[in-house]
């Protein structure tokens, strides 16, 4: 469990990026921070592994205050996946995945064996082990990034817009892979995105943030969709338009669902019926 308690971040230039932020992130679930750019979601994420230190409040992981843990040690036990994969371009795929185990002193042989297993886990062909990142496609690089994040089998996996830079088809593929991985591994995933669809797809808990990392609403996707807390949330999730504003229309005795543009979205089946 990760707990933010009245967290505050004021940058040296006086910008208040985070103001009195409190949140509990449950273990083994996916929590998604979603908001427009500059809302402070990445800052919040980076506080968890102390890439950013809070200027006020307390942040605890399983009851342990992060500021009492040496930053470098803390980071080695938390997986981190970022946009553009952040792979080391001078290391091969297998070396990239083995990075953190090697830092913590695992032998090269063991780290490589584990890295190859992880390639299977994230759906990468082992034949790619000796390639350099530049020789992979964007989607493959992102898979390597995920494998690297999982290499020390961390309890916590931080993902900072990991699928932001790949094309929509690959993104959809990677999202499904992440859902599969999460079903298998059950990590505490903290995911940052500006894409509300991605947030609703992946999140068990979705936290919608406004400027200054103020929580506009938090909850399960269906709760937020059913009861947007305010106009900001309603407009952010697009509840009043497009494919979220569905209505029922009767056609030849069958009830079909149409979206705001009048396009047919599907057929309505009665609860319990096939």
């Amino acid at each position: 469990m990760i707990e933010f308690r009245s967290i505050e971040k004021v940058f040296p230039d006086g910008t208040r990026a985070v103001d009195d932020f409190s949140l509990v992130i449950p273990s083994r679930k996916t929590t998604v921070f979603v908001g427009s750019s500059g809302c402070g979601k990445t800052t919040l994420l980076r506080m968890i592994n102390r890439m950013v230190d809070a200027t006020g409040g307390e942040l605890e992981i399983d009851g342990e205050n992060v500021s009492s843990i040496e930053a470098v040690k803390l980071r080695r036990r938390i997986g981190y996946v970022m946009q553009n994969s952040g792979l080391l371009p001078h290391r091969t795929v297998v070396d990239n995945i083995a990075t953190v185990p090697r830092l913590t002193g695992v032998s090269k042989k063991d780290a490589h064996a584990r890295a190859l297993e992880l390639m299977d886990t994230v759906g990468l062909d082992r034949a790619m082990a000796d390639r350099y990142p530049a020789q992979l496609s964007g989607g493959q690089q992102q898979r390597v990034g995920v494998a690297r994040g999982l290499a020390v089998d961390p309890n916590i996996l931080l993902m900072d817009e990991p699928f932001g830079a790949v094309d929509p088809i690959v993104r959809a593929e990677l999202q499904q892979e992440l859902l599969r991985l999460q079903r298998e591994l059950g990590k505490t995933v903290v995911f940052v995105t500006h894409d509300i669809d991605e947030a609703f797809l992946l999140g068990d808990q979705v936290v919608i943030l406004e400027k200054g990392a103020r929580i506009a609403q938090k909850g399960a996707p269906e709760e937020i969709l059913a009861n947007p807390a305010n106009d900001f949330v309603a407009s952010f999730i697009g509840a009043d338009r497009g494919k979220r504003a569905l209505s029922i229309r009767e056609v030849d005795g069958q009830r079909v669902v149409v979206d705001a543009e009048g396009t047919v979205a599907g057929r309505l089946s009665e609860p319990g019926a096939a």
Binding site: M51, V72, G123, Q135
Partner: protein, 235 residues
């Protein structure tokens, strides 16, 4: 032609001497420029100071440098040390800027990622930042190597024997072949050392070729973004 055959031994000796004397400033300049370049890269204030200072050093003409140095550092005027130190100063002047630029050229995302993985500062510098700065550092080092090898010929003007001796002596005695030989051998050495540095770069930085490969990206795309297609390629 006779002159050439009669003096093969001298040419050989001078070549070895020349290589030995140019190697010291090149290596020393490289090593000293790393901390200097790092400080210049790391802090805004020192960047201006250091880069302006080394820039000024480089503008001092070499003959003037040979004359200024001895009273300052106490070396004899006619000594290898005098020449080597002067050339080291030039080497540092070029390399410090190269190293600073090279470190600045490293992708910020990669540095962030390395920190997020749990690299400490020192380890990150030597295993991530510096290797990735390698290609730009190498470009600077090649300039330093070639310029040191050519500048070293001036050493013979103050009596230190290098390939420059073939120019000065040949010129005084009116032996054109001697002058030409001096020029050609110097150029050949410079070219060979330059090639060797390029090869060394390829050996130490095999990843740079992967990045430069035309179509690397295209091939990767063709050979799958997911498991299913990758498996097809493998079979």
């Amino acid at each position: 032609m006779n002159w050439l055959l009669d003096n093969l031994e001298l040419i050989g000796e001078l070549t070895v001497q020349h290589l030995r004397l140019s190697a010291i400033p090149i290596v020393l300049g490289f090593v000293l420029a790393i901390p200097l370049g790092w400080v210049a890269y790391r802090y805004k204030l020192t960047r201006g100071l250091i880069l302006t200072f080394v820039g000024l050093l480089y503008t001092i003409p070499s003959l003037a440098m040979f004359v200024i140095l001895p009273p300052i550092i106490g070396t004899p005027y006619i000594s290898e040390a005098n020449v080597v130190i002067a050339l080291t100063i030039y080497a540092v002047a070029i390399m410090a800027r190269s190293v600073a630029d090279a470190l600045a050229s490293v992708d910020g995302d990669v540095k962030q990622a390395a920190t997020a993985m749990g690299y400490g500062g020192f380890r990150r510098f030597w295993t991530v930042d510096f290797p990735l700065a390698g290609p730009v550092v190498l470009a600077g080092l090649r300039v330093v190597a070639v310029s040191t090898i050519s500048l070293l010929t001036i050493g013979s003007a103050i009596g230190v024997s290098t390939l420059g001796y073939l120019f000065t002596n040949g010129n005084q005695r009116g032996i054109v072949v001697s002058v030409l030989t001096g020029v050609i051998v110097t150029v050949i050495i410079a070219l060979v050392v330059d090639r060797l540095l390029v090869l060394l770069g390829r050996l130490l930085m095999p990843w740079t070729r992967a990045m430069a490969q035309p179509g690397a990206q295209r091939r990767a795309l063709a050979s799958a973004s997911g498991r299913s297609r990758a498996a097809e390629v493998a079979t």
